[in-house]
């Protein structure tokens, strides 16, 4: 014996013409014996059906907004590539600076500019860098 809930899902499935012949016969018998139930199902269904007409929509500028955002995302992707190049450049500069400190044997502001120990005998900025 099927429960009422099962008849309801069968009735719903039948609306999609997706119910087996056996179940359809069974459903018809149930509906004949319970006409009030069918009225209730139909009432709820009519209410749900009324929702199909479009009342939910996005703003008029929706398409433009999406495209603007999408362009922004694409630019960000390219920015990412340029940031990689920038990071590589910074890393190379730091390595060169370390090399400069090592060659001058000093970690000071003067060494950063390549002028640590600069005197009258040694005036070349590149003296320490072979």
């Amino acid at each position: 014996m099927k429960r009422e809930d099962k008849y309801y899902t069968d009735w719903l499935l039948n609306k999609d013409s997706n119910l087996s012949k056996e179940d359809l016969v069974d459903l018809e018998v149930f509906v004949k014996g319970n006409p009030q139930q069918l009225i209730e199902w139909k009432a709820v269904d009519a209410l749900m059906d009324s929702l199909k007409t479009p009342v939910l929509s996005f703003s008029d500028s929706f398409e433009q907004d999406v495209m603007r955002k999408w362009q922004g995302e694409k630019e960000q992707f390219y920015d990412h590539s340029s940031m990689m190049i920038l990071y590589a450049g910074v890393a190379a500069a730091v390595l060169l600076m370390i090399n400069l400190f090592v060659n001058q044997g000093s970690i000071s502001l003067d060494a950063m500019f390549g002028i640590a120990g600069m005197n009258a005998d040694n005036t070349s900025l590149l003296f320490y860098i072979d």
Binding site: I39, E40, A43, L47, K52, V55, L56, W70
Partner: protein
């Protein structure tokens, strides 16, 4: 699986999208924005966040277009993204509300102002939409697909990737719950 022209009527559009043709992007937006509005606003309500989530749905789709194999229709794919992003938004909303409330009930409660006067159609729909927002998310998903999109139960099962029996039982439970909420309207309609 790769798509061919014979297998998929959307092949040309997908190819244009993959080529970065701007007109194709606009075409997709024009074709599917109403469906996505129904999904997202059906899940979240008619709020500003729904508009943002809707935009994000298309951005995600455009970003992943190179990986799109065409084994599902564009609409199915977009609706899946829309449902997932809506669920994320609901989770975010829940977290946000938890900061302010320690109670169990976080969902906005609907105050139905249904008098004895016959309501206008639009007003009625708005009330039903608000009632849908009171359903649990798993029920809301099937109601959105069936009632708002007009999908068959089989199609809804495909979109949600769950068995048709589960879709049916969730829909039946959802309508039962909606009936309880909307009893005055249902009675009026049944007369």
């Amino acid at each position: 699986m790769t798509i061919t022209n014979d297998q998929n009527p959307e092949f040309e559009l997908i190819t244009l999208l993959k080529d970065g043709d701007e007109r194709a992007y606009f075409k997709v937006l024009g074709l599917y924005k109403d469906q996505i509005a129904k999904t997202v606003k059906g899940m979240l309500g008619d709020v500003q966040e729904a508009e943002d989530v809707g935009q994000e749905v298309f951005i995600r789709f455009f970003k992943s277009i190179d990986n799109f194999k065409g084994d599902a229709k564009i609409s199915t794919y977009l609706i899946r993204i829309a449902i997932n992003l809506s669920l994320n938004e609901l989770a975010r909303r829940k977290r946000k509300w938890r900061i302010f409330y320690s109670g169990d009930t976080i969902e906005e409660k609907l105050v139905l102002d249904v008098g004895t006067n016959p309501m206008e159609d639009e007003e009625r729909k708005e009330i039903v939409h608000k009632a849908i927002l009171q359903l649990g998310v798993k029920y809301r998903k099937v109601v959105v697909l069936r009632a708002l999109h007009g999908y068959s139960f089989k199609e809804a099962a495909e979109v949600l990737q769950i068995p048709i029996g589960t879709v049916l039982s969730r829909y039946a439970r959802a309508t039962k719950k909606l009936k309880e909420i909307l009893n005055p309207i249902v009675n009026e309609k049944g007369r």
